[in-house]
Structures are given as C-alpha cells and as structure tokens.
Amino acid sequence: MADGLTVSDLEVPGRGGRMLLSVEALSLAPGQSLGLRGPSGAGKSTFLYAIAGLIEGARGRVEWNGTDILSLSPDRRGAFRAAHMGFIFQDFLLFDELSGIDNAALPALFAPRAQRPGIRLRAQEMLGRLGLSDPGRGVDSYSGGERQRVGVARALANDAAILLADEPTASLHRAAADALIEDLAGVARGQRTSVVVSHDPALLARMDRVITIADGRMTDGDLAA
C-alpha cells in the first residue's frame, strides 16, 4: 500500500542562517509520482533528503501516511526509511566489490532477521524483471545502465511504498536512460508514491505532477494533490 505525503512549513536552514529550502505546503496522494525540476543548487535534492528525514535541523512537518518523520529520533527515522523507502542515486552508489544480487539485496544485511530471506528474494526477482541475466557477477563489470538497474532493484528490494530518486538518468546515455525510465514507470506506477529529482524532460514527462524549485522555493506547479 503506497504512502501519501503531506508537507507543511518545511524549512531547511543552512549555515549562517540562510534558508536553503522553504516549502509552506505540499501534498501527494498515495501512488502518485512527483517530478522536481529546477536549476542546479536550487534545493531539489535538499527537498528530497528532507522528506526522507536525512537532514538534521530541518523544521516543520513531513508526514508520510500520518507519521511525521521529522519528529522521530534519528534511529526511528532510519528504521522508517528501511521499512518504507527506496533510494536511487545519480551515480548508483553501489559496492563495486559485491555482485549485482548482493548489492540489490543490501538492505537484508541490516533488516530484522525474519525479513532477510524475503528481501533477497525480491531483489532477485526485481533484477530478473529488469533484465539482468547474470546477477552473480561483480558490478564493477556492469555498464552504467545495468548498474542503475541494480540501484533500482536495491531501492525496491524492501518492497518500499515510497521511491525517492535523485537524478536517476543523469549518468546514463540516452538509450539507457530511456530504458530506465520505462523500467521505473513499470515498477512504480500506481503502487508506489515516487518523488524524482531530474533535469531529464523524458523522465519528468512520465510523472503525474511536476514542480519547479528555484532558490529554495517551489515556484510553479500544482502544490496541492
């Protein structure tokens, strides 16, 4: 079951008191996808990290299905992310020394013991669904597109209801980026609430909603669900 998002009075102060990000209100229905665009340094990634509860000092409310992640202790936020969120990064952030399946099943290493086999099984299924035929191979031998697909499988191995992605196609060539967009659309549509930061018009075009962030504020787009 996807989680809905409600953000109110979110503020992320930077060093020296400058406000890096300020969002008065934003809501996203369960299963919806939101694209965030805007110039570099505008605060897109900061927003993504803030709604994941990763930024110490963020103020306001970020509720996922009624749970205000900002009010949780760092450990509880971590546990919330592990249970509900999947992350995809621009440069994949894989462990080069591990195989595709070991990277995709990474969350199993720190999940409660009872959930570990399930996570590994889903990682395996996801890799198969994304067309990675040899997941036992070390990821250092993978192409960029393959690496990002491992990243996607890792994000979804815990059956996350929320998918957060930071420029997922930026390190890929066009064909690989297009293939990834199809994959993402396939695995996320309707079942997961997704927030995707991107400059890629092809990716943004597949989102239910797109918002532009400039200078730490949401400047256009439909802020209410």
Binding site: L54, G78, A79, E97, L109
Partner: protein, 446 residues
Amino acid sequence: MNDLWSGLSAPVQDGLWLLLILLPAVVTGVLVLRSLRPWPLVRAMLWRFRGPNLLFVLLIAVAVGLGIGLLAQERGLRAGTAAAADKFDLIVAAPGSEVTMLFASVYLQPSDVGLLSGTIYDEVATHPEVALAAPLGFGDSYAGAPVVGTIADFVTYLSDGAIEGRMFETSTEAIAGAFAPVGLGERFEPAHGTGDVALDADNAHAHAGASFTVVGRMAPTGTPWDRALIVPIEAVWEVHGLANGHAPGPDGAGAHDRIGPPFDAAYFPGTPAIVVRSEALWSNYALRSAFTRDAETMAFFPGAVLAQLYRVMGDVRQAMSVMALVTQVLVAASVLVGLLILTRLFRRQLALLRALGAPARFVFAVVWSYAATLLACGAVLGLAVGWLAAALLSRVLSERTDILVTAPLAWPELHAVAGFLSVATLLSLLPGLSMRRLPIVEALRS
C-alpha cells in the same frame, strides 16, 4: 576459591587465563555484532584497500612478533643457561667472584682465578657426603675449542654415560664434546690460552710435543661442554710442566701411567674449581657450609647464582616487556589512524547505508569489524613472526654461546597476544565511534 584455583593443573590455569584475557575481545565482539551481518561489507572494505590493509597487517605482525619473540627468547636463554648448569650441583673454588667461577666452570669462559690445593681437594673428595669431586683445569684450547682437564667419572656423569668410543685411559687421550672440532680417532695439539691469545704464534706452539688422540665422543649435552675437548687433568698439569697429581713410583717412573683419583696432595699442582656432586640433595647445603671458609675456599650453588642473575635480569625483562607492549600499542595506534583515514574514504558508502535505513549500530559494526579484523590478523600473524624470530635468535645464541637455547612460544606469549588482541578490539571502537556522527547528506554529496 583460592583452593579451587590452586587445585587446577598449570595448563588449565594458563588456559583459563587466556580465556580471561580474551574476554574483553569476545564481549566487545558479541555486543557490537549482535544480530548483525556486516561481513559482506567488511570483505568489500578489506578488498578495496587491500594494499594498505596488507601493510597494516604486516606492521602489526612484526611489532607483535618481535615483542613475543624477545619474551620467548629471554625465557629460552634462562632455561638454556639453567639447563647447562643442571649437572653442576655445587662448586668449590678459591674465594673470589661466584659469577666469574660460574662462567669459568659451567660455561667454560675462563678467567684468572686462584687455585685450590691438593689438601683441600682431598678434603672435598673424601668427605662422606661427596659422591663425585671433579677437579677442573682450563686455559688451553684447540681451534677455538676449550681444552678442559678433569676426571673420567665427571665425563661419564656429564654425558650420562652416552659416549661413542671409549673413555680416556692415559694422559694422551681425550674425549671430544659432540660438536668439538676434532673427530673420533683424530689427534690435536692444544695451544696455550683461548681465543685470540691462543692464535698468537708464541702460544700456538707453547705446548709443542703434547698431543692428544680423541678416543671418545660425548652425545650432545646442550652445554658449552659440547664444543670442549676433555682430557685427563693430569695432562693439563703435565703440559704446563707441573707434577701430575700422583707420586712417582719407587723407581721414579710410573706416575705418568696413572690417571684419575685418588691424587697425592703433595703432587697436586692445584685446581681452580672442584665440581661436587653429593650423595643426597639435602647434603649439598651441609657441604656448602662445610667448604665456605674465609680466605680458604668458597662453595656455591650455580643454580642460586643464576637465580640471582635472573633476578637482576628480571628487571630488564620487565622493562623489555613494557617497551614491547608500548611499541605494539604505538603501532596499533598508528594503524588505527590509518584506518580512520581509510574509513573516511569509505564514508560515502557508509552514508549510503544510513540513507537506506541501516541503524547507526550497523555502520558502527562494519567499521569496527574492519579494524578488528586487521588487528586480529596482524596479531595472529604476529604469533608466526614471533615463532620465527625466536627460532632464529635461538639459533644465533646457541651458536655463539654453545648453550642450547630453544625458545618455543608458550603460554606467556599466547597471553601477551591475547592481551594485545583485547586492547586492539577496544581501540577498534574508535574508528567506529568516529563514524557515528556521520553527516549523511554531506557524505552522500561528497
């Protein structure tokens, strides 16, 4: 509790100590790793930084190895010197330095010492508690090997009767130590003095004409006597132009045919030391007091003199142990600084784990396991290095001193390594702690 402990055998006590010393490491490991599986990532870190990791392991291994190698060596040297003195229950000599006499008689490092007269020798030899009273005569050498004069019974006693060939029977025959430079059936001419003095042209031929045939060879005894050439004490006196301890026969001849006790005090030129073996162990004490006389004789137990030396050396040993430990801790600390730097190189991946929801404890466990694995590998490899170092040092020392020194690693070394391991596992908490306050977003963006 005390009774229970003292009722246990030494190996059990040592084993329990080992477990006790390892306990902090085990407890730390259990607490840190409880229900976590960090190993795939630890392996990844080990492999990613394999060059520096290998270097760190070797550094620790060398530091640990040299430390325990020296400890084992020191113990081996003590055991070796004590074993070499084993057969020398009591030594009677002219008053002087007990240490000098000990070195001269047991370790065959002669110095100028006073002589005991035939009367005193007689007194010692005929004492009812004395089973064996062996006069020693030294000062000559052949090809670097000391030539020592004594009596046949002492050679039998020293070698436990393990002699290839036969005992000397005349004053021109000799018994060779197991590693003496002269083989069975060969002849040699002793030179006056030992070492460089003996090589001097004047001394090399000082005893021209006096030659000995080796008729027997002792089995190895593990003492400097293994390199010695042992001749009847009469021969030592004779080559120096002295009486040979026996009265000439009525026709003026015959004295040369006799070797061994009893000696005639009037023809006894003197001996620097008498090695005494008593009938019973307890009578050694009575003998020691009987022959401890002002300005006439001194009697001492080589074992007791060694014990005094060891007591003095004990302080040096403790200083050595402390220095070894400090060195190990310093190396471990430098390695940990290196690990801190390497861990920082890995911090993006560690931040990723936190972003994916890994608890801080998991990241802590990864970093701790990485550091602890390197330190533990270093410590275990250190045991091998220590064993090798001790074996090499033993060989060198045995060659130089002719005292059989064996320095196998034993409980004290295992305890030392276990102690290092425990300290290391605790120190390994530091890199882990440094990652606890990891700024996740900053690290992800770096």
